[in-house]
């Protein structure tokens, strides 16, 4: 059966989805023996805590690492949305290679962003040849507080620098050929750091060593380790960008990476839900399938709706990298705070549906569920913990109080951010437009009152649910005003963190409404109000207790969930065919 040429299925997509489908088709169905990356094989490597070499071979064959290299350097990178889709597809098979491979991109990003021609050419050559990279920011004693980093770079004249200290824990500490190391080049403070491109092959072996691999809960085949340097000479031209600007470079790089890692949660959630349905649609209890038990049905549907909420939130942030990178400091933190945690909740809930099966390292889909559950736990921790992102959001909440006028520019921006047919332009990976803060601008939540007011009267249920979200936003703004008036800074205040969480949920609700608006005209599931009603209700569940999911909406949304499962489409508002479904 070919869905690819079916006109109804082709609408509401861009070439991003074509690239992802091509990747899916190459990799095949992970449940099927003989496909390029299977659950069974990934499970074996996880059990042995080893790198899954066949998976990396398959990635190299398809040209996956080439997507880490900008076109100007001979690579295939085009835009971050595409990268996001590829990471999600890989992670729905196994997050471990997605992460190990992704650490290479993260390590390369400062070079693409601020590096000189020679650095760019060198890193491009290494990645094209299959090398791994690492991003050396974390230190054992200063996990989140990167400004307190102690790895030192002494010198700085023509003779170069001497690097001393340990970066730990970092991804690919051992496997990497190159690493971006952030080190102190001046007194403590925002401009006291510089980024260095460290080529391990060129380091004096007497002055550096790797730290042993860490034993971890999930991602057991990954290389989570470290690098120790001791008076290790690096040339003066190893500095990436300007001396003293390392922290700025790190913060801007992380705005992208923390958005991309949520793609891993999205992929994991897809497999979690698919595995659950694979089991409960076939297992029979009391003369019916498990799925026919009403409580189970609603629990599974809630997980699907949460997945759509997460998608609406994160897709717009990935899109903003092309459309409005100036807003990423806030939006990427909102996304990184919200999505991994939401997916942890989804997996927890589905785990209770799978019951004993979720605890087995074998059985349904080769026992992949428990691995997904373990692996996703890292996503809310790396690239800044949930607390770090609550801090970022809390610190920006006061600046958002002044609401700019909702005008045609806002409307056009929202259309670009949420339109499923938007074609992202090619990006050269230079970070000129990135900012450290949003400067009080956030069209996604600041437009909420206007967007809610504009919901047509015929959608009475939606209008009512949206009004409840708006009331939450108003209360939250009052809370922020109150704290400011009392002279409290929100980011060192528990109440401020609570308000930050509420803001993230309001942001997600706004993202769902904007997605509906931007794609309303084209028909299909995305243009139906029912999924938005349930999405907002699921968000409100986390803000106001005792929410009942609208029964009329449940029927419509469940039908879409089941057809996505039966037809092997991604659980997504965008129709996307999964690998192994055949093209004839």
């Amino acid at each position: 059966m070919s869905t690819a040429t079916h006109p109804e299925v082709r609408a509401g997509r861009s070439t991003v989805h074509d690239t992802v489908e091509d990747f899916e088709e190459f990799l095949g169905d992970p449940r099927a023996p003989g496909s390029r990356i299977t659950f069974a094989e990934q499970m074996e490597y996880d059990e042995r805590e080893e790198k899954a070499v066949p998976a990396f071979d398959a990635l190299a064959e398809w040209g996956y690492p080439l997507h880490y290299v900008p076109a100007a350097e001979g690579g295939r990178f085009h835009d971050m949305e595409r990268m996001f889709g590829l990471i999600r597809s890989l992670a729905r098979r196994d997050m471990t290679p997605a992460l190990s491979s992704g650490a290479t991109f993260l390590g390369a990003m400062p070079v693409w962003g601020w590096g000189d021609a020679a650095q760019r050419a060198r890193v491009a050559d290494l990645i094209k040849a299959g090398a791994f990279g690492a991003f050396g920011l974390s230190e054992a004693d200063h996990g989140c507080d990167v400004v307190a980093g102690e790895v030192l770079a002494e010198g700085g004249d023509e003779a170069g620098y001497l690097l001393t200290g340990t970066k730990w824990p970092i991804g690919n500490g051992i496997r990497s050929t190159f690493a971006t190391i952030f080190a102190r080049t001046g007194p403590a403070g925002p401009r006291g750091f510089s980024a260095f491109l460290v080529d391990k092959e060129k380091l004096d072996p007497l002055h550096w060593a790797t730290e042993p691999r860490v034993k971890t809960l999930g991602l057991r085949g990954a290389d989570v380790s470290g690098i120790t340097l001791e008076d290790c000479p690096v040339p003066a031209d190893a500095v990436i960008g300007s001396r003293g600007r390392g922290m700025e470079e790190a913060i801007k790089t992380l705005q992208i990476s923390r958005t991309l890692v949520t793609a891993m949660s999205m992929g994991v959630a897809d497999t979690g839900l698919r595995t659950t349905l694979d089991h409960i649609r076939s297992r029979r209890l009391y003369g019916r399938t498990v799925h026919e038990i009403q409580v189970i049905r609603e629990q599974v549907l809630a997980a699907y709706v949460d997945l759509l909420v997460a998608e609406c939130t994160t897709a717009a942030t990935a899109r903003a990298i092309s459309v409005m990178p100036e807003r990423l400091s806030l939006w990427s933190s909102v996304t990184k705070y919200l999505v991994p945690g939401l997916i942890d909740e989804v997996l927890g809930s589905l785990g209770s549906v799978l019951a004993a099966r979720h605890f087995m390292r074998e059985g349904v889909n080769d026992g992949i569920f428990q691995k997904m559950l373990r692996d996703n736990r890292i996503v809310s921790i790396f690239e800044g913990t949930s607390h770090v992102h609550q801090h970022v959001v809390a610190s920006q909440l006061p600046s958002l109080l002044l609401r700019p006028e909702y005008d045609l520019n806002t409307e056009a921006l929202l259309q670009d951010l949420f339109d499923h047919e938007y074609e992202p332009p090619e990006w050269d990976l230079r970070f000129d437009r990135f900012k450290l803060t949003n400067g009080g601008l956030d069209e996604i939540t600041q437009s909420l009152p206007d967007v809610v007011a504009a919901i047509p009267a015929e959608y009475a249920t939606l209008k009512q649910v949206a009004a409840e979200v708006l009331a939450v936003q108003e209360r939250l703004q009052q809370g922020v005003r109150q704290l400011v008036k009392q002279g409290n800074d929100l980011h060192s205040n528990a109440r401020g963190f609570t308000l930050a969480r509420q803001h993230c949920l309001v942001h997600a609700a706004a993202a769902c409404l904007h997605t509906w608006n931007a794609n309303a005209g084209r028909g299909g599931f995305v243009s139906r109000p029912e999924w938005v009603v349930l999405a907002l209700q699921r968000i409100l569940t986390r803000l106001i207790p005792d929410q009942q999911l609208d029964p009329d909406s449940l029927v419509v949304v469940e039908a879409e969930m089941l057809s996505s499962w039966e037809d092997e489409r991604l659980f997504s508002l965008v129709p996307l065919r999964l690998g192994g479904t055949g093209t004839d």
Partner: protein, 94 residues
Amino acid sequence: MSQTDETPVLNRVVTAAEVTDFLRGRVGRMIGLTPDEVDPAAPLASIGVDSVHAMELVAELEEWLGTHVPDHLAWSYPTIALISEQLASAESLA
């Protein structure tokens, strides 16, 4: 909203009062207060300016002044009044 003059001040000496006005406007916007409500004598860290916002502030100052400001400024001179004094005296020496 622009309650302070934020036109770049290229090629002229700025006074401490001008820097103070600029910073009260920027900091106020960051922390949700009007410029008048921002106390120039209060340590920036205690009124809600964290390290990332401080970095942003330094970048904005540079854009406004059209020149490089010392890297450690918001660290070594942690109030608006002290930053203003320091910048004004540095500018007049230049």
